[in-house]
């Protein structure tokens, strides 16, 4: 069989076999509608409760503060639009950063069309926001600050705890939202200790199926629903619950928790080793964003001067290595990544960038082959693109 080394785990992950089992059981047997009063309905409700507990445990919050959604995008939309709608009378200003995921950026752009003022904070060359900039941008009428924990393209980690504590200490009425889709299950997150009011997470980034996510909503935080209907999820997220997805999400969260307790640094150690090997094999490599030894445990963004990322992606694929150029969501558009632009990468570097992203399912053995395959691919491309 042809080897397959899947290194695109920031785009999506393989669903774990034990998660598939749970999901299939749910699809086959426990198909009740949790709102139904009969036994099948109650059984579904029980399963959902277990899943809620497991997801909540991973970030140590009360389970009743977890609202299940259809995914990270919906969670981000719900957090931002829901806060804006619920707190309209307190102000008209929001703060975010230039390097957010499109589901945050485009939602803020939509709010701007409705007359909101939005400040987009810049980031430094590592892709990190400065607290000073945030302090200067804060206004009396700032109702919401939304900053992602880990950037999906370059893996920069924001000082979320510092930001949260600063906001709680100085602007207790301002809501703090963080898009934790990339960090959930990969870095410790403590919303209660860090002053986070809203936190978005997604199932398919942690080996659960696609189509399920959640929003953590700190008790007492006002939020207006995005979709109205049957009153599910405390009336905040209406619509029949995606039970198999939710149950799969819970099972995946449980698995991740076990993995973390076995070896918390497994992924980051693999990443650093891989980066070192690549640098040895291809000395001209440029790592974009944070240094490989810093940053999120699973994301490595690199450019090789003179090689276009997309070409490299396809050659790597022919060797069974799957990576991405920028984020999956924007990889079909031709635009240069807004994240790479924000960290000051040149056009050439940006066009040459690929993203390698790991998971607990990767191993040292397969990763040890990657630097040579990368070198071989680069050489192959350079033969054709001599100038």
């Amino acid at each position: 069989m042809k080897q397959q080394i899947y290194l695109d785990n920031a785009a999506t992950t393989q669903v774990l076999p034990e998660v598939v089992d749970e999901v299939v059981r749910c699809l086959n047997e426990d198909f009740g509608n949790p709102s139904s009063l009969h036994r099948l309905g109650l059984q579904s409700e029980r399963k959902m409760k277990q899943a809620r507990n497991m997801v909540a445990q991973l970030i140590q919050v009360p389970p009743e503060d977890i609202i299940f959604t259809s995914g990270g995008t919906e969670s981000n939309n719900l957090a931002i639009l829901g806060t804006a709608r619920a707190r309209k009378r307190y102000g008209n200003h929001c703060i975010t950063t230039e390097i957010e995921h499109p589901s945050v950026l485009n939602t803020f752009q939509y709010l701007e069309q409705e007359g909101w003022n939005v400040t987009y904070l810049p980031v430094d060359s590592r892709g990190i926001v400065s607290i000073e900039d945030l302090k200067n941008a804060m206004r009396k009428d700032t109702v919401l600050v939304s900053i992602a924990h880990v950037n999906n393209e370059i893996g920069s980690v924001q000082p979320i705890k510092e930001i949260g504590l600063y906001l709680k200490g100085n602007y207790p009425d301002t809501i703090f939202h963080t898009d934790a889709v990339q960090s959930f299950g990969r870095l410790p997150i403590r919303p209660l200790e860090w002053g986070i009011d809203l936190l978005s997470i997604s199932g398919h980034k942690i080996h659960a199926p696609k189509g399920v996510g959640a929003l953590y909503i700190k008790k007492g935080t006002l939020i207006t629903s995005l979709q109205w209907g049957g009153g599910q999820e405390l009336g905040i997220r209406n619509g029949t619950e995606n039970i198999p997805g939710i149950v799969g999400f819970g099972r995946a969260a449980q698995w991740i928790k076990e993995k973390i307790s076995e070896d918390e640094k497994y992924i980051s150690r693999m990443k650093v080793a891989l980066a070192n090997e690549i640098a040895r094999e291809i000395p001209q490599v440029v790592f974009n964003g944070p240094k490989p030894s810093d940053g999120a445990p699973h994301i490595l963004n690199l450019s090789i001067p003179g090689v276009r990322g997309e070409t490299l992606l396809h050659v790597l694929e022919s060797y069974g290595v799957y990576v991405s150029t920028g984020s999956a969501c924007s990889s079909r558009s031709i635009r240069t990544s807004h994240v790479l632009k924000a960290i000051g990468a040149s056009q050439q570097v940006a066009e040459g960038s690929i993203r390698i992203s790991l998971s607990y399912l990767n191993n040292y053995d397969e990763l040890s082959k990657v630097p040579q395959i990368l070198k071989k691919s680069v050489d192959q491309i350079k033969r054709f693109t001599r100038r």
């Binding site: 992950t13 995921h101 589901s103 109205w228 619950e241």
Partner: protein, 395 residues
């Protein structure tokens, strides 16, 4: 013997074997993100396109008019809010009916709070909207008419084609919540002049967590979810691939076998209705006697609480519902039953049994055997019944 008779298919259905089989590869080895350009992603993309074709074919729509969502509620919310926000410069008036699902009604109420005006059309005692009422309610500033295809509680099928002809002539967008109708009723969005149509997979033997909105090409609509460029910039968020594949397969199966399935359902439905009428006094059928969903039985039993009935049935291994699943947690009587003119007491005594393809004659016989006993027992404990019918030895 422990019975397990599921008569709550309008709340949700089990999943068909073929649907699960179609989904499995996309839950396991083909786990790519369809937005990725590598082959994992391309495989997923192809699979979505196939499901889109299957869905378009079922509705006689175009491939590029189908948008996948997180379910029926999202589709309804998107259709109504999306059209309202995108067309508010033309007018701020919306027409709907009094018996819509809460996904429609509460969305309309939200819009009312935000400066829109909504007309809620009444229905007759069968739960039918009069197309002439629609015509009369349309004003120069009307931008949208939203009337459900078939009601989730009482099963009445609306005169969608007649309404579509009117909205088309008046140049008003027409949305229909077809969550209960899809798979049971022939739908032709062009012939019926439907501009937007909501559907949900778990109502026709597909998985939960996925639905679709049909949007006629050229319709002005604002997205509900903002973000990545998925669903041609209309619905952001990584696609629920296994769910979408399941939806495609389920809708294909539903329409392939519709005639046969409906025949079976209608026969069982009428057997159940007639059997109850024959065996139990002071009972009424809610909804239209013939223009109703093939699997829908909704009856009110005077002098008793639907909820007690439900729990007694559950103990006998029969899963049914009082009104719709979504409102089963609330104590208010169903807005649908009140709209067709039922009193509060009678509305409280109603029971919905919705049949599915795998229900059998034998199961219906069993229901007809135990239901009269349960009703009698509950009535004997009911103060209302005692008052009306005179003394009772059990008091």
């Amino acid at each position: 013997m422990k019975r397990n008779i599921y008569l709550d298919h309008a709340a949700t259905t089990y999943m068909k074997k073929e649907v699960l089989e179609a989904m499995m590869p996309y839950l396991t080895q083909n786990y790519g993100n369809p937005s990725s350009v590598h082959s994992f992603g391309r495989e997923a993309r192809k699979a979505i396109d196939k499901a889109r074709e299957q869905t378009a074919k079922a509705l006689k729509a175009r491939f590029d008019e189908i948008f996948f969502t997180g379910g029926g509620t999202e589709s309804d919310n998107w259709a109504i809010k999306g059209v309202a926000l995108a067309n508010q410069n033309k007018g701020k008036h919306i027409i709907t009916s009094a018996i819509e699902h809460h996904a429609v009604l509460y969305t309309c109420e939200f819009l009312e709070k935000n400066g829109f005006e909504v007309t809620y059309l009444p229905v007759d005692s069968y739960g039918m909207v009069d197309p002439q009422d629609v015509e009369k309610a349309i004003r120069p500033d009307t931008i949208l008419v939203s009337i459900m295809f078939a009601n989730n509680e009482i099963g009445t099928i609306q005169p969608i084609k007649e309404i579509g002809a009117i909205t088309k002539e008046k140049g008003v967008y027409f949305h229909t919540d077809a969550v209960q109708a899809v798979g049971h009723v022939d739908i032709d969005v062009n012939d019926m002049n439907i501009d937007l149509l909501s559907l949900s997979a778990h109502k026709f033997y597909g998985p939960k967590g996925v639905g679709a909105l049909y949007v006629r090409k050229g319709t002005k609509i604002t997205p509900l979810l903002h973000g990545g460029a998925q669903e041609r910039n209309r619905r952001a968020g990584t696609e629920n691939i296994p769910g979408i594949i399941g939806l495609g397969k389920a809708i294909e199966l539903a329409y392939e076998n519709m005639e046969e399935n409906n025949k079976h359902l209608i026969r069982l439905r009428d057997k159940l209705i007639n059997g109850i009428m024959d065996r139990i006094d002071d009972v009424r059928l809610n909804g239209h006697p013939t223009l109703r969903l093939p699997g829908n039985v909704n009856m009110s039993f005077e002098y008793i609480e639907g909820e007690s009935l439900l729990l007694s049935l559950d103990l006998k291994g029969i899963a049914a519902s009082s009104g719709s699943a979504c409102t089963s947690g609330s104590l208010d009587p169903s807005h649908v039953l009140l709209a067709i003119g039922l009193s509060h007491e009678i509305a409280h005594g109603s029971l919905r049994m919705t049949l599915g393809d795998e229900n059998t004659d034998e199961e219906i016989d069993y229901v007809l055997e135990v239901l009269p006993q349960i009703v009698q027992r509950l009535r004997e404990m009911s103060p209302l019944f005692i008052q009306e019918k005179g003394g009772c030895q059990y008091v």
